[in-house]
Symmetry: D2
Subunit: 261 residues, 4 copies
């Protein structure tokens, strides 16, 4: 019969065997194309969605679409994501970074590992490749044939070598998540805690410009599991656009540095 | 800021709000089409994959493909699954049922809830609708364009009213799973325990016949996350076919009866 | 080298070989689930889209969604379609039937044969399975994550045996299409003519009720090839709903009776 | 009622309106990633599949996978293709180029235009993005969950500026196709003729190396419409590998130069 070995790490189905160590290594993504758009929003509304172990550093929403190729842990494969986050500090530890409100991804495998092993609140969406036409980049995410967010970026100038160097000098982002696993068959949490998951980005090229985001509300009948998330984000007003960026980069998810906070 | 309420149940991202109670209710699936094929296999090989809290009741592998429509918790929506299980008894509690070795599903939402809330070892596969031609039913599951299991059932006679009544008198199946959530950034389990998740089926019509299953090995390079599961199942010999069944039914997942064992 | 044989029928790529005869046979679809909703519209607007070889019999738009399983020519496989048509008479021949304005389908193979061999104006859309909940049936079609038509049917009473018998006595529908193939590299038609393609339906069960359709306009930038079709249909006003039907049936496309008009 | 205008070009459904001129323009694809692998094969076997209006210049099969982004006629959108061709001369006209045996594509819209307007023998396949890992590029195409061709390229050295300049000096490829549209309801061709469709490629970067291709036979039951194509290509022996190339490029399909031969 199958016996668990406490020196190993498993994922469900666990009984087919585990891997040595923590199961978390550094995960390089060789070829990433991103559209990043951020905007200032209403702090009171935003704060409803950030656990009180954190402080919001600035009432800003950053939406980061990334098409990822050359993902080493997927045998050189690929997926796309759309992450929504806000700058925050974990009060007790003092760690600063970006609190992850939600990440949509278009493959299940990274969603499972992300949720269970790293507390990243990943859920599924259809996320096609971006469109590009004369320096204009567009992309959307949809649930069962209904787009709920549309991104549009008009690039105006290429990033200079100085700008890229500056971005890379600050290429570390501390992703802050919250892992929550419920009890079975009764209210309350079996696991509930903050997680730090750093990510290092090396930018290669890109362009900056003016972004625009349109969120569209979802109905409970048509999107029973995600409507409250989409509708919460739709209700965060866009008070002022900040960053608008298209970038090609290499990404390194620092699973080796992950830890509970 | 967001505060957890211990009277509620949450799922990630938790900070957008929880639901009252356990989060687990009875989940009706109104319209299910299934192909069920079972076979006797080598007990020593099979026992490698069943945790030692269980005893194998009979060295039989049951593969259950189901196309599900009219799923109430998905707003009347649909998904398909391919579950692999073996009859087992949970020694300490004495509960008998089917130990779930793995479940492939073609939507992410039921995979997430199934894993985190009920310990069902669900992972993703492309699972198309079944083909039917002159009483012959076929279906397969694939990972990124490579089929790893093919089912084929030649129905020979329709189920009689008596047979259906008999099946429905025994329509309860005790699904036995193992919920495992690893520690963050270090070996070992944060959660690791057996789960009982009953399911009630009401059969409406169907036919019995001769089934056949072909498993095809997967390579680590092309299927880094599932190859060890597929290859373990491929290595379980088909010693003798047992059940071969096509059935239309209604399914009721008894989330209200779920509990840790 | 490859030589064409005029006794055979080919499809591109033709040089891998043809089939004997016309290539058009009777095509049975064993298991079809349909949602049919029709409405009266503005005749002047509708007439813009019906070639002048036809007369409109009644200014009615019929939208027919069908999920098809057990398709013999696809090895027992499946696809879904959403057809839009209007009752019409071919003036010269006197043949009456339904002029097909457009058919969206979610697989390419039937689209190709339908267009090139039968003049059915098929184009691609994502068409999921229908949702069903307490007698309410919904479905939509989308292009790259943006739904352009939503159907909703509230069934109110089951079809009686008499109603089914009556429907089956009139189960033949004369699909009227227009095959058009352009010249290569210059304006004008290489082929342009009307086609008759009968289809026989045997209804097994179903329910009637009240339907509703919502068309949503598409933008040229996001849907360069279909926006003018979708927008034309969106501009046809719904003056009064007529038929609202859910039905299970067997369909027989009478390729053996197909002919140019 | 709708009337055709002979100065316009239409595609089905034609009655929603046409476009001025031939409908064929120059079609730029801004961002193309290709894996190209060629091999010498048996000339007698290969010649079975090339119409006798052509002569084979060299018994070589070239397989060209391309992931295309920034496609202007699709609003900056994307699709992927896998084309199989052989060097040939059109005897009557003396035009030399590559006779297109088949092109698989993963979107329907370019398949329709390609077939009906340009005689390119396009059919559907699932074609995912390529995988890349340490200079090794892999990709496959599949039909309903069953891969029928796998490409693998181990790049060994980057293309030099001189090599790229040389490739670009010869960047024109004369695609040679055969447009065939059958009669309706009777054997024989309504249209059957050769087509020239030039394509210009500007290479930006890449690497050369050693390629390998594995074709896998398809069964008539599981792939009723494509098995004879796949099996014909599987039966062409790989006598010697020639080119093995990964390249980034811009592509310009010269619809403005298309003509019947």
């Amino acid at each position: 019969m199958f016996r668990f070995d406490e020196r190993l790490s498993y994922r469900m189905p666990a009984h087919f065997g585990g891997t040595e160590g923590s199961g978390c290594q550094s995960l390089p993504y060789d070829d990433v194309s991103s559209i990043m758009i951020s905007y200032r929003t209403d702090e009171a509304k935003l704060s409803q969605y950030v656990p009180d172990e954190f402080e919001i550093l600035e009432p800003v929403v950053l939406v980061n679409y990334s098409k990822c190729l050359g993902i080493r842990w997927m045998g050189g494969g690929h997926y796309s994501m759309l992450a929504v986050m806000t700058p925050a500090r974990h009060s007790r530890s003092g760690v600063e970074g970006a609190y992850i409100l939600v990440i949509w991804e278009n493959k299940t495998a990274p969603i499972l590992g992300g949720r269970e092993e790293t507390g990243m609140p990943k859920i599924y969406a259809d996320i096609p490749d971006y469109h590009q036409l004369d320096g204009r980049f567009t992309v959307h995410a949809s649930h069962e044939g209904r787009a709920f967010v549309e991104l549009e970026l008009e690039t105006q100038k290429a990033l200079t070598a100085e700008e890229l160097a500056g971005m890379n000098a600050n290429g570390r982002m501390n992703q802050l998540g919250w892992r929550y696993i419920p009890n079975v068959g009764r209210p309350g949490a079996a696991l509930s805690h903050a997680v730090l998951y750093p990510a290092d980005t090396t930018y290669r090229s890109g362009g900056s410009g003016v972004g625009r985001i349109v969120w569209t509300k979802a109905s409970p009948a048509l999107n029973p599991l995600q409507h409250h998330i989409i509708n919460a984000l739709t209700d965060l007003p866009v008070l002022e656009y900040r960053q608008g960026l298209f970038a090609k980069s290499a990404l390194n998810l620092r699973g080796d540095l992950i830890r509970e906070l």
